[in-house]
Point group: D2
Chain length 253, copies 4
């Protein structure tokens, strides 16, 4: 059996476990929330689409918010995100999220340092509140090397079907690699909490990353019966947050 | 080259044209709205996912509403759908829609005959208003034979990954086939208008159906430059609404 | 007994009848909707506050929408209003409404003639839909003479407590009196329908106008038992829409 | 000059200062938020209506939410309130608020002790976040004696115009007076913070209470220029939170 067949078989097993998770969520009124952050081209879209592929379309929402309207910009920062939080039985996956404020906004100067600092102080309290009120919450940081990113951005720009994945910010991603690294380290360090730890995923290998993300999502649901027959996340590929390991943008063993 | 390769190549061509469409929509402020209706297992999910696959995630929404809340049930019937209509630059695809009232609700008695009758009188005026205000609107009816449906429902029930596609209503779909046919004929006849004609798609062959749906969606955008190099929809597979052809549930040539 | 005592006594009687109306609305699931339009300074605010004064605060909403956000401006025109339509048991009163498009927007050129024309074609269909779906709907036009308006605007500008009632458009109200008259006549003529007739109220005498508005609102609820002991609306002061009578801005007998 | 004239004159002065406050709010993008809590019949409605009387109707909202829908009940507790938070330039006044969970829900058992405990832990963090993000926030507790409440509830039940102010919970308000006292003490003690202190207002004298509430609201805006010519809040009538003074339900001097 080829490597690719292995992947497909394992993906199917994990997707079945996700189905089991959602059935429990519906039966017992869980609210499931996941946030996907990471470098440009780290594989957020692909991971989300594997997770949602076989879930209930009427109770699963992948949220990728457009730019805020003028009214939204004049509201409390979290307000437009709160509107999308899951009700009981629902699963909501944010493709980028409130963490924009600590990432792209910081690197590009789209908000003030005061706003970014305030955000970093708010987010642990905000997420703690959600978790203590019963939300089953997982937040993922997908990490890739500079080389991987360069390759993927180049491949994208050569593929006309990926036109909407290309943005003027792509060039910046490479150029300001170190600024993004600094922003990431600051964000991960200050917002990884007991209630809402960052799950950092090495995503240079897309398929391995996807499998590990699903495994961690199942773990984060907090229900051990869902993990029967599910392999432990591969420590080569995924690990609990370790800032030292991330500092230079290359994930240590 | 195999048939399957042909399909992939043509799909890619059409998806490129969809990207062109969305670029125009963003540049010129089009609002794009599409509604997907059809028998259970007719292929709505698959068609939608091919359309959205490469579109801009932040300006494309596939809407599959859950059951209405108690408050929504006490509002004007269209209210909870109106909330999701596209702003300029956006594309919204409804996976089932307000037409529930004329389909499943009629067959299953989930609303009163008076409500269903009122709906059939309202919908042409409602859609006319949207279209005359500039919305680019396409509504698709995906039609399959009773045998195709039986096969697909059977295949689903054998596939644990399709657990969320199975519902207690599936058995009813076959059992009440003729009631659904009557409801469909009534709905199509009364709600196909100059401004918002039904596009009926023979969907027994999934791949052919998907290609034809995308072709029609491009046509419905009203911009001929988008159709350059796009094949005419296959008349064997897709055709303008013809009630006589549909009456017995088998699409006539 | 003084005239003022008469007014207070009659107002209390009518407010009691409104309480009766809302109790029925809650018990039987009515949706109550009223729209208040009219010249600047015609008395819309005062009329609305007398109607809502003793109603249930949790099921009565007076809606005075601010300028649309940039997103709202790019949506279907009616969308931001639809969001506020009443659920069963609720009463919603619009202080100015979608009719802005046919009034201030026309006179001031805030939208295109095409948009205004489209609006005038849409509104009868839109309101018909609401009414046929069971909404109990009344729309009021409060009319005053040019002299009354001049006096009231002058009094406002002398009263610092009315600072928020003053706008740069006030001067225009007098200056473009005839343009507003033309817009009004066009709007009333084209949007007064069997399902949703305009109720035109002579509002030069505030107190008489308020009493008559409440009487008409009770009539519009369609429940005759609510009208027991309620005087007929005074034909001197209030009358069914008659375009001839309104043409020169002075209400004919 | 009579006492009543004094009240009217002072109310007008304070309402003028509120107009000044809102003009600043609009010019400088303040978000103004006020919460009104207190015993049944403590005078919340009356206070709110004096505050809003001359403010800009399009940027001022008095929010009195109905019972949550079934969907809202299954969301994060604060979610349906967050939707109503003020944008820049707006003033939002909650007539009862999220504090229901610590008051009526506790006394009547409408939620679980765990939910109530969680709420008391969440609210300081939630409000701190709003305030640190720039919201100008004031929360008022209106306190009356048991005798005052008894009189007012009796007067209400004799006045048919107050039908919607009467509820089955009124009898309970007197009967469970001590339970409400305990709930209040617990709530005030645990949720009065540096960022969001409770402003406790003796409200046995309605007019004095209203004047003091407005004075405190102006103070809470944080802009001293608005306080020119505004009398200090009367220490006999209004005072910073002092749990000892409140313990037996009679406000100490």
């Amino acid at each position: 059996m080829s490597k690719s067949d292995d992947y497909e078989a394992e993906l199917a097993r994990l997707q079945l476990a996700l189905i089991g998770m959602q059935k429990k969520a519906i039966a017992e009124g869980w609210q499931i929330l996941a946030v996907f952050e990471g470098r440009d081209a780290a594989g957020k879209d692909g991971a989300i689409s594997r997770i949602t592929e076989h879930l209930d379309r009427r109770q699963t929402i992948a949220v990728a918010l457009p730019k805020p309207s003028d009214r939204e910009r004049s509201e409390w920062y979290f307000q437009r995100y709160v509107e999308w939080l899951p009700a009981c039985g629902e699963a909501v996956l944010f493709n980028r999220s409130w963490y924009n404020r600590a990432g792209v906004e910081k690197v590009m100067g789209f908000s003030t340092p005061q706003q970014q600092e305030q955000f970093l102080r708010d987010v642990p309290a905000f997420e703690k509140m959600l978790v203590e009120n019963g939300m089953r919450y997982a937040k993922f940081w997908l990490d890739i090397t500079r080389e991987t990113q360069a390759e993927r951005l180049k491949a994208r720009s050569a593929d006309p079907l990926k036109a909407f994945k290309i943005s003027p910010l792509d060039a910046v991603a490479q150029e300001k690699w170190d600024d993004y690294t600094d922003a990431r380290d600051d964000m991960l360090t200050r917002t990884s909490t007991t209630e809402a730890p960052w799950i950092c995923v090495r995503a240079d290998h897309k398929k391995a990353a996807r499998l590990n993300i699903i495994r961690w999502l199942l773990h984060a649901s907090g229900d051990k019966t869902l993990l029967k027959g599910v392999a432990q996340p591969d420590p080569e590929v995924i690990f609990p947050f370790d800032v030292a390991a991330l500092t230079d943008g290359r994930l240590a063993r």
